[in-house]
Amino acid sequence: MMSTHTSAPAGPVLRRRSLGALAAVPGLLSLAACGSSDGGSTSGDPSTLRVVDYYNTPADDKVIQETLESVGAEVGVTISREKVPGDQLIQKVLQMSSSKTLPDILMLDNPDLQEIASSGALAPLDDFGFDTSGISPEILAAGTYEGKVYGIAPTVNTIALFFNTAMLEEAAIEPPTTWEELTAAAKALTHDDVYGLAFSAIATYEGTWQFLPFMWSNGGDETDLATPEVAGAAQLWADLVADGSASKSVVNWGQGDAMDQFKAEKAAMVVNGPWNITGLQEDAPDLDWDVVIIPVPAAGDDSVAPLGGEVWTIPQTGDEEKQKKAAEVLQKFVSAENQLVMGAARNTIPSDIEAATTFAEEHPELATFVEQVSTARSRTGKLGTEWPATAKAIYTAFQQVLVDGTDPETAFADAAASLG
């Protein structure tokens, strides 16, 4: 879900949801089931593979299209690719799954994979003898449901701490590595209309995704939200806002909005991801910035960030021949060479461990992200299809802390209770 919103152009994150008569929505979705017949991906041509993804920004779009076309040519198929708006992908997938018009290759945001895999709409990649060796185990876990790999990510992303080099130098502040340093630095960097730190604490999955590195690095765990470790992370956020080191508006900012504050030099530091680097360079070419990993509670702790990015899957279309071809295409698509090409074009990190090392050498500016990815965790690894409800409980709780001043322990105890 993360890069869904975040790869959109800068500005408030808005989801197009003119759904007409609300009550009729789920009904309309299944209306597509009217003329359903079993099996069969739609395109009749056996040598054309239908691909659905949400890569709409030019940088993503171009390299994905080119890579798909070139691997398609190697396998001897043509690629017919359909791009949907990021926030509409899941609705679209449910619709296609209901009307039996799933594509031959489908891209999903990784936290959605288990939900869709659990519906039976996807084929385990093992069925096609898919080779996943070399891929980082945590990244494989993000594409795994009930012990089987359903989705493979050529490249991944995560979040880290961007900082305005000039502002830190001026204040004679070293990039923070611990929470204490982060709080002190944010406070020292705050003056006039500049905030020390910007982050996104919005009431969506995006807010939860930004909360996770603090929660996880503090030893918190999504399987039990009623712990001092989870509450501690919320306390850190609450202190930053209470100090005035971060704007109260963080509860309404998506990651693009937080990055906009950084671009406009209204925030000295920002928690953000590599997918926004292109925009940062284009919109603020004169801004000198650098990135460090997310500060940890105490020196020596591990910085654990969430794993982001999209996984590619092969839906159950009923056409085995095509599925095999799709697997062939996908296998070549995620090769180490292609990972390096796509990673460079999209500022994302190769999922192959060796490729990632090469990548860090070739792109030192992204080395921080390579490091952060190497310890990153998948969001659905532990909870599977329970994740969406937990993610929602998390953002509801930290919003109560930031907005209503609820005590973090109480807010997260309530969150845990709401999950039963």
Binding site: R15, L19, P26, S30, A121, V250, N252, D404
Partner: protein
């Protein structure tokens, strides 16, 4: 009587039969359209609300019967009561604001003055903008630190510190209602203005002779004559407002801390964030029920006023 005999009666009957077919033929497209695009979703939504409808159902087409479980779960949802209260506040305050301002503007535009036509058409602007665009623009306007509204208010000295319009649970609902009022004014003005146009000028002249001017004219002439239009405006207003979703999602996403969560946004959330389509449908049906209630009240009130001869 042989088979060949054709009495005038049967001819008439046949002709009548034929014309009945033709008559049904004429309404068939409309009925088909209604059944397909209104009937089917409503029935489907109704059945869904009694099923354990998950994302798997979309693929397999199978959903087990859940009885009243979805409704019970929805009612037990900790956010439900808050969403209900918010829905009521959002609807009532929005409608009141839209209507009062809309009525004032309609009365104002009733007198023609230079540029009144131009101004009236400018007033329609909010209506013409896609909702999602309005929401984006308003988010910038209402931004706490750099938003133009806070800047303007502090420049003229009305506030000393910026108001956290969308980031405080005390003000978020007010802000959302404010934007919704702005959005709804054109609709109210257009309908009320055309209603006012249909009141003959002579009545006011006659009223003036009887001493009814100003407020008295409004109270005893305009309001009673405008009553059918007013009730339509209010009823449609309620139905439109109660189900508003894109504006709220665009402005606050139901946050902060559920401060702007309504039944409509919560239903969306249940279906598409939590993937529990059964519960989402159950909540949607509760919303339909509330809207229906208003329709019934309206229809009865209308029937009564008809009977009374107004």
């Amino acid at each position: 009587m042989t088979a060949q005999t054709t009495t005038p009666a049967t001819v008439r009957r046949r002709r009548a039969h034929g014309s009945a077919l033709v008559r049904y033929g004429f309404i068939a497209p409309a009925v088909l359209y209604l059944a397909l695009f209104f009937g089917y979703p409503i029935v489907k939504n109704f059945t869904m609300s009694f099923q354990e409808y998950t994302s798997a159902t979309f693929f397999t087409g199978e959903a087990s019967f859940a009885g009243l479980d979805n409704y019970l779960a929805v009612l037990a949802d900790p956010v439900f009561s808050k969403a209900m209260v918010n829905t009521v506040i959002f609807t009532v305050v929005s409608i009141a604001g839209q209507f009062v301002i809309g009525m004032a503007l309609a009365l104002f535009f009733r007198r023609s003055f230079p540029l009144s036509g131009f101004l009236r058409s400018m007033l329609l602007l909010p209506w013409l903008l896609p909702m999602i665009v309005s929401a984006a623009v308003w988010r910038w306007i209402l931004e706490q630190d750099s938003g133009i509204l806070n800047q303007a208010l502090s420049t003229i000295g009305l506030i000393s510190s910026p108001i956290p319009w969308l980031s405080s649970s005390d003000t978020a609902l007010i802000a959302v209602v404010m934007v919704n009022i702005w959005l709804g004014i054109p609709f109210n003005v257009v309908l009320l203005y055309s209603g006012l146009q249909s009141i003959p000028e002579e009545l006011y002249e006659a009223g003036e002779i009887d001493g009814a001017t100003g407020w008295a004219a409004f109270r005893h002439l305009t309001l009673p004559l405008l009553r059918p239009v007013v009730s339509v405006v209010l009823l449609l207003g309620v139905i439109y407002t109660i189900k508003v979703i894109d504006l709220i999602l665009g402005l606050t996403g139901g946050g902060p801390a559920n401060a702007t969560q309504t039944i409509a946004t919560r239903s969306y959330e249940m279906s598409f964030i939590e993937f529990d389509f059964g519960q989402g449908a159950a909540l949607g049906n509760i919303l339909i029920l509330i809207a229906l209630l208003f329709s019934v009240i309206y229809l009865r009130a209308n029937a009564r006023s008809m009977k009374e001869g107004r």
